[in-house]
Symmetry: C2
Subunit: 424 residues, 2 copies
DNA sequence: ACAGTTTCCCGTAAATGC
DNA sequence: TGCATTTACGGGAAACTG
C-alpha cells in the first residue's frame, strides 16, 4: 500500500493564493476498468505534515474542495482520473488560543513554507482494504500577488535541489546552497520558458560576476532571495520582457545583461552610432536602456539614456523609442543610434516593429494632426573643458557672421536624418 | 410612531457594490439621555419595498450586518447615534424556483433599481411600545465597478427630481425628463464638487447644443444615460480631470467644452500660436487635445492634435506636453503653442507645472543621459496647392544660395524656443 | 516604529445568463 | 448571437499584527 499507483498530473499548481480557486487532477496509473466506481479519491491539504503543527509552526489552512470524487474515465486513452476544479484555501486564524503546547515561532517567511496536497483513496477489493495515496510536489501558499516572486524563488530552489530523495518540506530552515552551474541553468531556464530564449554565456558571465564574489563559490539562498534580492531584480526583468519585449528578446536583439565596463569595451572600437540594449542594474522593477558610442568629439564616449520603465514602454514601444530617439547637442538634433551591435543597421533589426503612423483607422482621428511620443535628450556632453578663449555661443550675442556654410551643412544633416522628409 | 425622530447621517452611501463593505450611521434626533440603552436599532435592506417582489422584480439581496446596536453616545455634542460598520450585500440567486406566482420580468437595468435601507427600533416606554423607523435615501446596488457611471447617473437623476414627495423607488419605470436648467445645474455641480470649478455659461451652451435638438426641449433619461451615452462621455472627462488635470481645471485653464466651429471663431482673429484646450468629443473614455491657430501661410488655419488619453497623460503631464510639443513643417521644427487663449503666454499659465529636469534625485541616474518624453507631429499642412513654378525644396537639389540670413533667423528662432539653450 | 503579511477593493478580463 | 450582468483576480495600497 501507499505505492505511487496514483499520480498527480503535470501541470500542478505551484503557488496557491488564498481565496483563489485552483484545480488539480489525479490519474490512476493501473488502467483497470474493474476499479471504476470503486475508487473514491479525496484531496487533503498538508495531511500528516509535521511542520504544520510543531516543527516550524507552519500556517494552517481551511481547505475548500469539491466533494470526494469517484475516478472517472475521462481521457481519450481511457485512463481513470478525477479532476477537482473548485478547490481553495483560507488561512485558519486560531493559532493563539485553545492550544496548551505553545507553537514554535515560525522562523521562516511564509513564502518559504512548503506545503503539499495528498490524494487518498481506499479500495475495498476481495475482502481486503487497500490505502492508496499520492502526494503533490510542494506548493507555496501566499495571500497576495506581491508575494509571487518570492514564492517562485522557493519553488525554483526546491526543484533544483530535489533529487529522488523524500521531500523535505522544511528545506528552507537550512537551505542548501547551489553551485553556479545549478543557478545558471535555473536562471537560463526562466528566460527560455518565459521568453523563448535562454541566456547565453556572456549574459551568464555578467550575472555570475554580479552575484558571486569568487567564481568557485556556492550561491546561498539568502543572497539569492533575501539580502540583495538578486532574484527580485531578475524577476522584474523577466516581467519586463513578458510584457513589452518578448519579440525583441526572442530574436536576440537584447544583449541585456552587460555591465558598463564591458559595454564600453565592446563599443569602443565600433563606429559612432553603434549601440546595444541593456537592462538597468539599479532599477528593481525592470527597466531597459541603450548605450551608444560617439567618436565625433575626437575621443571615445559611451553614453546611456536614462532607463525606460514598464509604464513608459506601455505607451512607447522600445523599437519606436529607438527609432525616434533624439539627442540635441549644441543646438543640433539627431538620433545617435545607428547600428545595433555589432553592425546591424537599426532599421534592419527593428524596422518591422516600428509603429506605422498609417492611415488612421478611426475616422474621427482624420481631422486631427497626427502625433507620436518621442524621447528627447539635451546635450549630454558639455565639451570636457571648453577653451576659455572661444566664447560660448549665446542667443543674445550670436554673431550673424558665423560660418554660414558650416551651419547650413548641419541643417542639411538634420534634415537628412528626418525620415519623414521624403513624404513632404 | 414612525415619525422621523431618527436620521441617517449626511454621508450616506449612494452606490453599494455587492461583496464590498460599507458603513452607515443613524442618529436619534431627540437628544434625551433617558433613552440611552433602551433603543436597539437594526438596519433592514428593502424592508416593505414592494418593487422587490412583484411590481418590477427587483433583485433580492442578503444583507450582512453587525448585530443590532444600542444607540451610543458617541459624538462631542452628546447626541445618540449608532454606527454600523461592517455591512455588505450579496445577491440572492433563487428567483426561479419555489414561487407559485411568476415574477414580473424586470424591465429596468440593474443600475435603475432604487433600493433603501431602513433603520427600525422599538422603544418600550411607560408601558407603551413605539415603533421608530428611518429610511435612507435610495441607493443603487451594483456588482462591478464598470457599473458605477450608470449608477451615478441614476442617483443624480433621482436627486434632481426628488422634492419632498414620498420616494418613488420605481422612478425609472417611467423616468420624468429634466429641463435644460435642471440638467445644467446637475452637470455643473459634478464639475464643482469633483474639480472645484463649475461649468461656465459657454461650456454649458456647448453641452446644450450637443445634447438637445431644440433649446426648449426637455432632456429624456434615455438620451442622457442610454442611447447616446452623453453621461458616459462626460463621466470619462470628469475622471480625466480627477486623475490628471485637477489643477489646470481648477484654475480655469481648460476651456474644455468648445466645439470645433467655436474654436475656430475664437481663434481666427488671434495671433499665430494662440491655442485653447478642449476635450475630445469622440473618445468615450476621456481625452484632451489642444487647438491652435496659424496664420503663417497667409490664410487662417486651425489645427488640433490627436487627443491625449489617460494612459498617455500618466507618463506625460499636459503642461509638459504643451511645453514640449514639436511640430515639424518643411523640415523646420517649432512649438506652435504660444498663447493660451485669449492672450496668456503659455509659460505664464503652465510654467509652474512643468516638470523640472532638476538634479536627479537618484544617485544612480546621474550617470545616465537625462531624457524626457515629448510629442512630435510632422507636417500637418502640405501647402494647399503648391505653385508649380516654385520647386519644392529637396535634400538633393537644395540650392546653397538660399537666403542664408532668413534661414539663420529661423534657426535662431528655433533655438530661442529651446529653454535648455541657456544651459549649454 | 516597522517589516512582513494580509485584507481591501478598483478596474479589467473572462465567464455567465438571458 | 449579442448584450447585460456577474464573477474572477491581478495589482497597488491600506490595514493589520506581532
Amino acid at each position: 500500500e501507499k505505492q505511487p499507483v496514483m499520480q498527480n498530473l503535470p501541470h500542478r499548481p505551484l503557488i496557491l493564493k488564498t481565496g483563489v480557486r485552483f484545480k488539480m487532477t489525479v490519474r490512476f496509473l493501473a488502467n483497470l476498468p474493474v476499479f471504476k466506481d470503486l475508487l473514491k479519491v479525496k484531496p487533503i491539504f498538508d495531511k500528516d505534515v509535521e511542520e504544520v503543527k510543531t516543527v516550524n509552526g507552519f500556517r494552517l489552512f481551511d481547505f475548500n474542495l469539491d466533494d470526494s470524487k469517484v475516478l472517472d474515465v475521462d481521457t481519450p486513452d481511457g485512463a481513470m482520473m478525477a479532476a477537482f476544479e473548485h478547490m481553495s484555501l483560507k488561512e485558519k486564524k486560531a493559532r493563539t488560543k485553545g492550544s496548551c503546547e505553545p507553537y514554535v515561532l515560525n522562523p521562516l517567511m511564509v513564502t518559504e513554507e512548503l506545503h503539499i496536497i495528498r490524494f487518498v483513496a481506499v479500495l475495498h477489493l476481495a475482502g481486503e482494504t487497500l490505502d492508496i495515496e499520492a502526494s503533490s510536489l510542494p506548493v507555496v501558499v501566499i495571500s497576495s500577488s506581491n508575494q509571487v516572486p518570492s514564492a517562485w524563488a522557493s519553488i525554483m530552489w526546491f526543484n533544483m535541489l530535489s533529487t529522488s530523495e523524500p521531500m523535505n518540506l522544511s528545506l528552507f530552515v537550512d537551505p542548501p546552497p547551489l553551485s553556479w552551474q545549478q543557478l545558471a541553468s535555473l536562471l537560463s531556464w526562466q528566460f527560455l520558458s518565459m521568453g523563448q530564449r535562454p541566456l547565453d554565456q556572456d549574459q551568464l558571465s555578467m550575472l555570475q560576476d554580479k552575484i558571486m564574489d569568487y567564481p568557485e563559490d556556492l550561491v546561498h539562498w539568502n543572497k539569492f532571495s533575501k539580502d540583495e534580492s538578486v532574484w527580485i531584480w531578475i524577476d522584474g526583468i523577466l516581467d519586463l520582457i513578458k510584457k513589452h519585449l518578448s519579440d525583441l528578446w526572442q530574436h536576440g536583439y537584447i544583449m541585456g545583461f552587460v555591465n558598463k565596463q564591458r559595454t564600453s569595451s565592446l563599443l569602443q572600437n565600433k563606429p559612432t552610432g553603434t549601440f546595444l540594449i541593456r537592462f538597468s542594474e539599479s532599477i528593481r522593477d525592470g527597466a531597459i536602456t541603450f548605450s551608444w558610442v560617439d567618436h565625433s568629439t575626437g575621443e571615445k564616449r559611451v553614453h546611456a539614456v536614462e532607463p525606460y520603465t514598464k509604464k513608459e514602454l506601455s505607451v512607447l514601444s522600445l523599437p519606436d523609442a529607438i527609432n525616434h530617439y533624439t539627442l540635441t547637442t549644441q543646438g543640433r538634433s539627431s538620433n545617435p543610434l545607428v547600428y545595433l551591435y555589432p553592425d546591424t543597421p537599426k532599421d534592419a533589426a527593428f524596422g518591422s516593429y516600428y509603429t506605422v503612423p498609417g492611415p488612421s483607422t478611426n475616422k474621427n482621428m482624420k481631422e486631427y494632426v497626427q502625433r507620436r511620443l518621442a524621447v528627447v535628450s539635451i546635450n549630454p556632453t558639455p565639451p570636457p573643458s571648453p577653451p576659455r578663449d572661444v566664447p560660448q555661443m549665446d542667443v543674445d550675442t550670436v554673431d550673424p557672421n558665423t560660418d554660414f556654410f558650416q551651419r547650413l551643412e548641419e541643417i542639411l544633416s538634420d534634415l537628412l536624418e528626418l525620415p519623414e522628409w521624403s513624404n513632404l
